[in-house]
């Protein structure tokens, strides 16, 4: 006998029953990773004879000749083995989830994946975790076809722009996030190591159960749940350093002066008398390639990143638990001397307890999920045209960073060619001393009652909340006429905001012959906006540093200096009823019907209710008898189709009234040191505003071929957003803010293909995935007079005209400007550039100027000639993953990219401000008389047409980025005596390379608070990160 045998055979007659045809078999049971399984059941089929595996995963059992063994273990599928002729067994258990009986989360329940009739996608926690991303969204980036995820900035802790199946609105296009049944506004604070799975509900039918807020899709996050069995403890940690992935080249001293002179001369000037106003002229000329590279000076090379995560999972038959604790810390690559940082602590406690148990089902269960995170951030401004990176690119190189005293250098006067101060100085003074702390709690408490088998009543009370504080200190500084503060300033803010969600549902599963029904009815009541913000700022700290930057240390109240504000959060209520019927006939024909009704307090009483229906159907063809012929190559084929409607209510409340602002200030009367406050209605009321509806049809199939080696998923969809909630711009003559209107229709149409291949060649196991999705976005209707929603002005430079818009017949946020047709080479060409009447079109042009296409045959270039010059929405999202393992080694890579989109790149005002520097990449090969370029115009200082918004600033944004390459080795295979089931050490490169033709710092442009996207005004780039990590499992 090997090991300690525990038999389940009754003790009374062990030997009496021993007959001649009985024999002893032995064996070892391991899981797919080769880890021995303790406590697995081994039973002789049809008897009570059985045993369980010991600590080494081994068993020994006396059985009858030719008996069949049944191996079972929780979480794994049952196996049956014939014993004839064999006495030693090496059994590998297969995880349940690897089978088609795998379940997916569908909202208020789970469903067998093979029966799902909508378009959903599930990403496993392990797959998220192995990306070593600090945010779940970052990890999803290359694993979810049809979901476009773009980083807003490379600054640590930055948010993501996410859209599912195209952008359907100029408003908020974020999906609805549901974490363990609690709706939250974002999931950036979650640690990927806490996540068991993320399910994305893409089509309307899947999302319909969340009707009111599902118009942009739904992302369901399930955190790691407890599992019956011994405690599994794991530790994962990594450490990395970050490097700049790409450099740009601002011009240095001599080049800068030459280019500035050249621009001035092209503008009719004589160039600049540098010697006359540069006090250190000789010094500068002595070092023509020297000067300050402001951009490079911002780089904090080898900025570190680290992450540590502990997880414990286990439980008994009565209670299961899962605990997680993790910490991450990342330094920003750009921002020296400020160096943004982000660190985060995550704590998770999930438990479930069975209180009352019937013979074969649980009558009463209670459970709880708790996710807490605390993040600390120190940030700098990376948005808009005043962002630090752009300032650094356009700052002249002549000014040193520091003066001879080691202080920040600046030019006292606003005068002359030299600007005021370098970006470093301003950064140091204004953006160094800040810290925001955010505490987030997502928790729920639930109970399920199963009075009769199959009928489950579930009641859940969830709370999500955010509380945090922010402090900022700006010292007193003086950097010349434009950049100064009067006194040092202390800012302190606190806030807390909570909501609760109370949901009750009843589901009943039953069977009538081969008809399977799963019926759900439920209600949901959600209230948000419990909490308030309080903020103060004041001048004159007695300590003059950040550490002591609290209001008590700057408590002299001076009217006008002391700012205090305290506001509650917008309260809102959402009251919903929903129902769902899942039906299948013998797991062959499936249908689902969903209805949800919601009332939202965001609308006027008469417009509150919205109704969102959906239907879907599926046909599992491989379960048909006539498909038996194909079974040797086609394992599984399911055809499905769905239609449904979802809603969106995401606007500020009270848009149906004119609200009053009180921030007007006027120096009425005779007081010299204060003002009188004034009030005004700040928005035009729209009493009719109501739900936005998204209407979507989806047709697709899922297939598995060649013995499960090849998986194919295909979806075609047509999604129409109707009565789109927009704040369409109104004429300035209206005199107040534009109201939200149900202002238009947008269509997103496209398809998604997912291919996966996995195979094993002896010990070499490999998997490859390819996801391709295509989307076409088009605005169908906009309800204002011109059919246009205008983008911002002053966006890409001061006084810049509108350059993106939403317009009927075009994609949302397309770039609007002039098309160019090269560069004028000679005056003769200018003279010959005429319309059909022979009138000159650009009479004021000079050789070297851009040729703008004249679209209407008049005699000038004006806004009527502006057309679509680019589309920020990608046509195709692409991702590619490969992984393999061999005898403890593992290797994998993961790449993603987009195709068919454009980026608008402008790192400089191309006009006002001759002291601005150029980036070499911007002017490479520009036109001069001796170098007559046909594409890049001449340099010119002021007020010329090069500044026009044109396709000169538009570039293709296609890229493929190698997000992650990892090589690892599991030492537990080598040192079997270790008490660890896994001891893996790995090395990773993130953002290893990017294949792109884009000239800017980073083609992943998600910056800006506008709805256009794809506008690069100096983006905080994603770093390249080199990491080493370790994973230990016990």
């Amino acid at each position: 006998m090997i090991g300690k045998n525990i038999t389940l055979i009754s003790n009374d007659s062990p030997t009496v029953k021993a007959q001649q045809d009985e024999r002893i078999i032995t064996g070892t049971i391991v899981d797919a990773q080769g880890i021995t399984v303790i406590g697995a059941n081994v039973i002789e089929k049809g008897t009570t004879n059985g045993t369980i595996t010991n600590l080494d995963g081994q068993f020994s059992l006396t059985i009858k000749e030719n008996a069949t063994l049944v191996i079972s273990y929780i979480g794994y599928s049952d196996q049956e083995l014939l014993t004839a002729g064999k006495s030693i067994f090496n059994i590998i258990l297969k995880e349940d989830s690897e089978l088609l009986d795998e379940v997916v989360v569908v909202g208020y329940g789970v469903q067998k994946k093979k029966l799902v009739t909508g378009a959903t996608i599930q990403v496993k926690g392990d797959d998220l975790e192995k990306m070593n991303s600090t945010s779940p969204l970052g990890a999803m980036q290359s694993q979810t076809p049809g979901v476009n995820i773009v980083k807003e900035s490379g600054q640590p802790g930055s948010d993501f722009k996410i859209s599912i199946r195209g952008v359907g609105t100029t408003g908020d296009s974020k999906p609805l996030y549901v974490v363990d049944g609690v709706t939250v506004s974002d999931i950036n604070n979650l640690s990927p190591s806490d996540i068991q799975s993320i399910d994305v509900l893409k089509d309307a039918a899947s999302a319909a159960i969340y009707g009111a807020r599902a118009a942009n899709g739904v992302v369901l996050v399930t955190t790691k749940q407890g599992k019956e069995g011994k405690a599994h403890i794991s530790y994962d940690g990594y450490f990395g350093v970050q490097k700049l992935a790409k450099k740009l080249h601002p011009l240095m001293n001599k080049d800068y002066m030459d280019m500035t002179d050249e621009a001035d001369r092209n503008n009719g000037g004589d160039g600049f008398e540098w010697a006359s106003f540069l006090t250190n002229y000789d010094e500068i000329m002595a070092n023509p390639n020297g000067g300050t590279d402001w951009l490079n000076a911002l780089v904090n090379d080898d900025a570190y990143i680290q992450n540590h995560a502990f997880n414990v999972t286990g439980g008994t038959k009565q209670s299961v638990y899962s605990l997680g604790l993790s910490y991450m810390n990342q330094e920003g690559l750009i921002g020296e001397p400020v160096t943004p940082t982000y660190s985060r602590y995550n704590l998770r406690i999930n438990t479930e307890h069975t209180i009352i148990k019937a013979k074969d089902f649980d009558i009463l269960k209670i459970g709880e999920n708790l996710n807490f995170s605390r993040s600390l951030r120190n940030t700098m401004n990376t948005d808009g045209k005043w962002n630090v990176i752009r300032s650094a690119m356009s700052m002249n190189p002549l000014l040193p960073i520091y003066d001879e005293n080691g202080d920040y250098a600046y030019e006292e006067s606003y005068e002359g060619i030299i600007g005021t101060c370098g970006p470093q100085a301003k950064l140091d003074y204004t953006q160094k001393n800040n810290k925001s702390i955010t505490n987030k709690l997502i928790t729920n408490f639930y109970l399920t009652i199963q009075p009769i088998k199959g009928l489950i009543i579930r009641s859940s009370f969830g709370v999500s909340g955010t509380a945090g504080d922010y402090r900022n200190y700006i010292p007193q500084y003086d950097l010349g006429g434009k950049e100064f503060t009067i006194d040092d300033q202390v800012t302190q803010q606190n806030y807390s905001n909570y909501k609760y969600i109370f949901e009750n549902s009843a589901s009943y599963k039953f069977k009538v012959d081969k008809n399977n029904f799963d019926v759900l009815a439920g209600t949901s009541y959600e209230r948000s906006g419990f909490g308030s913000k309080l903020g103060t700022s004041n001048y004159g700290s007695i300590f003059n540093d950040f550490e002591h930057a609290y209001i008590d240390n700057a408590d002299v109240v001076v009217i006008g200096n002391t700012k205090i504000n305290g506001t509650p959060y917008n309260q809102s209520k959402l009251n919903s009823y929903f129902g769902r019927v899942n039906y299948d006939y013998n797991e062959k024909y499936m249908a689902t019907v969903v209805m949800r009704a919601d009332a939202s307090s965001n609308f006027a009483p008469k417009n509150r209710w919205g109704y969102f229906p959906s239907v879907s159907a599926g046909w599992l063809m491989t379960n048909e008898d006539f498909m038996q012929d194909t079974i040797d190559w086609l394992d599984f084929f399911k055809l499905r189709a769905s239609w449904g409607q979802n809603g969106n209510q995401n606007i500020n409340p009270f848009q149906y009234l004119s609200t009053i602002s009180f921030d007007a200030k006027y120096a009425r009367g005779t007081d010299y040191l204060t003002y009188t406050q004034g009030s005004y209605p700040d928005i035009l009321a729209n009493p009719d505003v109501t739900w936005e509806t998204s209407d979507q049809t989806d047709i697709g199939f899922d297939a598995r071929l060649l013995n499960g080696r090849l998986g194919v998923t295909f979806d075609w969809y047509n999604k129409k957003t109707k009565d789109w909630l927009v704040q369409a711009p109104i004429s300035g003559c209206i005199g107040t803010g534009a109201p939200y209107i149900n202002g238009g229709d947008v269509r997103n149409r496209g398809y998604e293909i997912g291919l996966s291949w996995n195979d094993r060649i002896e010990d070499f196991h490999y998997t490859a995935n390819l996801n391709v999705s295509h989307n076409k976005n088009e605005v169908l209707r906009i309800a204002n007079a011109e059919g246009i929603i205008h983008g911002e002005t002053n966006l890409v430079y001061n006084t810049s005209p509108e350059m993106y818009r939403a317009e009927v017949g075009f994609p949302i946020g397309y770039f609007w400007g002039y098309e160019t047709a090269g560069v004028f080479q000679t005056q003769e060409e200018i003279n010959n550039y005429v319309n059909s009447n022979g009138e000159m079109i650009q009479p004021d042009a000079q050789p070297g100027d851009l040729i703008f296409k004249n679209m209407n045959d008049d005699d000038q270039i004006n806004t009527e000639d502006k057309v679509m010059i680019g589309d920020p929405n990608p046509d195709v999202n692409l991702s590619l993953a490969f992984s393999c393992d061999y005898k403890g080694f593992d290797f994998g890579f993961n790449a993603s990219g987009v195709m068919g989109n454009q980026i608008f790149r402008m790192y400089r005002d191309w006009s006002i401000g001759s002291s601005n520097n150029y980036v070499a990449e911007d002017i490479e090969g520009h036109w001069t008389e001796t170098n007559p370029s046909t594409t890049v115009p001449f340099l010119v200082g002021t007020g010329k047409t090069v500044q026009n918004i044109s396709d000169r600033y538009v570039e293709d944004g296609d890229y493929l980025r190698m997000n992650n390459i990892t090589l690892g080795y599991d030492f537990s295979k080598l040192f079997k005596s270790l008490p660890l089931t896994k001891a893996r050490i790995y090395a990773t490169i993130q953002n290893a390379f990017t294949i792109t033709g884009y000239k800017g710092l980073d083609p992943e442009v998600g910056s800006g608070e506008n709805w256009a996207g794809g506008i690069d005004l100096g983006l905080y780039p994603s770093p390249r990160t080199y990491m080493i990590g370790i994973s230990l499992n016990y």
Partner: protein, 547 residues
């Protein structure tokens, strides 16, 4: 069992059957606001704020008209195309005056809101209602007048409901509304002399301001469009006699009067210790604490805050580049004075030196002027009515007077506090003379005798000269030229005037384009948002208009 389950579900469903209404805890809305007199006063303050808004200095109607005029050039830095555009009648950008446009309309919307709410109000007494309504009418007229003089045909909007379409109106319709509103304001505003009014109300529109603005509106409309009478709403007309009566009433009953010394009106006279010129004439600034009966209406500023709120950025914009002197402080150098203005101004008029700082004039007793390298359109002449004014502080450093006297922030970009006079009493007198009041000669004499000039007969030519000298640099000149149809002739003289730009000698020629008729370009954004309801003003789509 099943019944129990049903009951349970009903209980859960019932738990949430509560009200869907929420309370707006931070914002008051138009359903309940305004109610009290204070609410209405607060709403009025907001309209004044818009009228006074100077953050975009070059888009403030005062500075627009000054830069448009033949007395001043663009100035500023070498790349300030926005001021240069106004000076040269060129399109510096498509939305060159967008801020000005929306700002005026924002004020108009707010005035409309007040008037609509007041019409529904049943709790306030008539006297209070009149006081509020009178100011709202005055402000709406004032704001429309800015628009009508700058852009001519603008959409006339008199309600807070969103109109079905945005459409330009004819001048006669717009001006009829202006006259009607001013008539209402005159009738409603209290008949209180300047001396009886509380100092705390300084800046509020008064009956006298309304009467004066009526004269200005009437003169512009009838002059520019060459008509005899002005239209009123619903078909009435406003006769010249009525306008003259208003002016006479203002002169006789307002309590407004001329200061004894013209120069004491302007803040440079505050530096009587440090500024040789002020010292030599023993000047004493009248200050702005309800002590200036010559000011009929001004928008108010103080050195209290940053540029976005209550400081007067126009001053900063017009300060000389890169100079810190006593008394003249530094700024962005907008609106240098045309040397011809100085040359054509007789020396015997004390207002010449009282209005223009010639950097070479020894009688200023100011030294240290240095032509700034980056100054555009440098002429060596600066107007001194609206200029940042410095004094010596306790440490003998040249500092803005608002800082030294009142404790405003010690930063030249923040402490410009001078009020912008929009109607000065001498303008009222001269308008009365021009309109043919029975006191015309007396009015003209008053203005001239104050500056020790002999009487001249009341002829249009004499009045033109008088207005040019008395009201120079006060935002009056350009519209005077337009209404007298003198613009073409005046600008024809601005040919090859020697100036320096960036330290390099060059010349200034202003090509006033007759096809514009003197009006400015409508912002392109507004044209496109009006969906064909607004067309660009003539002369602003041509190649000559392009920068």
């Amino acid at each position: 069992m099943k019944n129990k389950i049903f009951a349970l579900i009903l209980v859960f469903a019932g738990l949430q059957a509560c009200s869907m209404d929420t309370v707006n805890l931070t914002q008051i809305d138009s359903a309940t606001y305004p109610k009290s007199e204070d609410d209405y006063s607060s709403l009025l303050i907001s309209v004044y704020t818009n009228a006074a808004y100077t953050k975009m200095a070059h888009q403030h109607p005062y500075l627009v008209s000054e830069l448009n005029s033949d007395q001043r050039f663009g100035g500023g830095g070498l790349h300030d195309i926005n001021v240069e555009g106004l000076n040269l009648f060129k399109l510096a950008s498509n939305d060159m005056l967008e801020n000005c446009w929306t700002n005026r309309y924002t004020g108009i919307y707010q005035a409309n809101f007040i008037l609509e709410k007041l019409a529904e109000n049943e709790t306030l007494d008539q006297e209070t209602k009149d006081k509020i309504s009178g100011q709202a009418h005055f402000l709406r007229a004032y704001l429309y007048m800015d628009l009508a003089r700058m852009f001519e045909k603008v959409p006339l909007i008199l309600t807070t409901n969103q109109p079905d379409e945005i459409k330009q109106d004819e001048p006669a319709v717009i001006w009829a509304q202006i006259f009607t509103d001013l008539n209402a304001a005159i009738a409603e505003l209290p008949n209180q002399t300047y001396q009886e009014m509380p100092a705390d109300n300084d800046g509020d529109a008064t009956k006298w301001a309304a009467e004066s603005l009526m004269a200005r509106a009437y003169l512009f409309y009838t002059g520019f469009y060459e008509l005899d009478a002005a239209p009123l709403n619903e078909g009435g007309t406003l006769t010249k006699t009525e306008v003259v009566n208003y002016v006479d009433d203002c002169v006789a009953n307002s309590g407004h009067q001329l200061l004894s010394d013209f120069r004491n009106y302007w803040p440079y006279s505050v530096s009587d210790k440090d500024y040789g010129y002020a010292k030599a004439y023993n000047l004493k600034w009248v200050d702005e604490f309800h002590s200036n009966p010559e000011c009929v209406w001004a928008t108010k500023y103080n050195g209290f805050g940053d540029r976005e709120s209550t400081a007067n950025t126009l001053l900063l914009a017009m300060g000389m580049r890169d100079q810190t002197q006593v008394p003249f402080g530094k700024g962005w150098g907008y609106g240098t004075v045309n040397p011809q203005t100085w040359e054509n101004w007789p020396d015997n008029d004390l207002r010449k030196v009282a209005s223009i700082y010639s950097v070479e004039n020894e009688k200023e007793w100011v030294s240290g002027y240095k032509k700034a390298v980056s100054q555009a359109d440098e002429t060596g002449y600066w107007q001194k009515k609206y200029m940042p004014i410095n004094m010596y502080d306790a440490d003998h450093k040249a500092t803005g007077y608002a800082t030294v006297l009142y404790g405003a922030y010690n930063k030249f970009t923040m402490n410009t506090a001078q009020d912008l006079t929009l109607i000065r009493f001498s303008d009222v007198l001269l308008m009365g003379a021009e309109l043919g009041s029975s006191h015309a000669q007396e009015y003209l004499d008053k203005v001239r005798s104050r500056v020790n000039l002999p009487a001249v007969p009341v002829t249009l030519d004499n009045i033109k000269t008088e207005r040019n000298h008395e009201l120079a640099f006060e935002g009056i000149r350009y519209y005077d030229l337009l209404r007298w149809h003198d613009a073409e002739a005046a600008f024809a003289k601005v040919k090859e005037v020697p100036i320096e730009s960036g330290g390099v000698a060059t010349t200034m020629t202003i090509n006033y384009r007759k096809d514009t008729r003197g009006f400015m370009p409508i912002p392109e954004t507004e044209i496109s948002l009006a969906n064909g309801g607004i067309v660009q003003n003539p002369g602003w789509t041509s190649a000559e208009a392009a920068w």
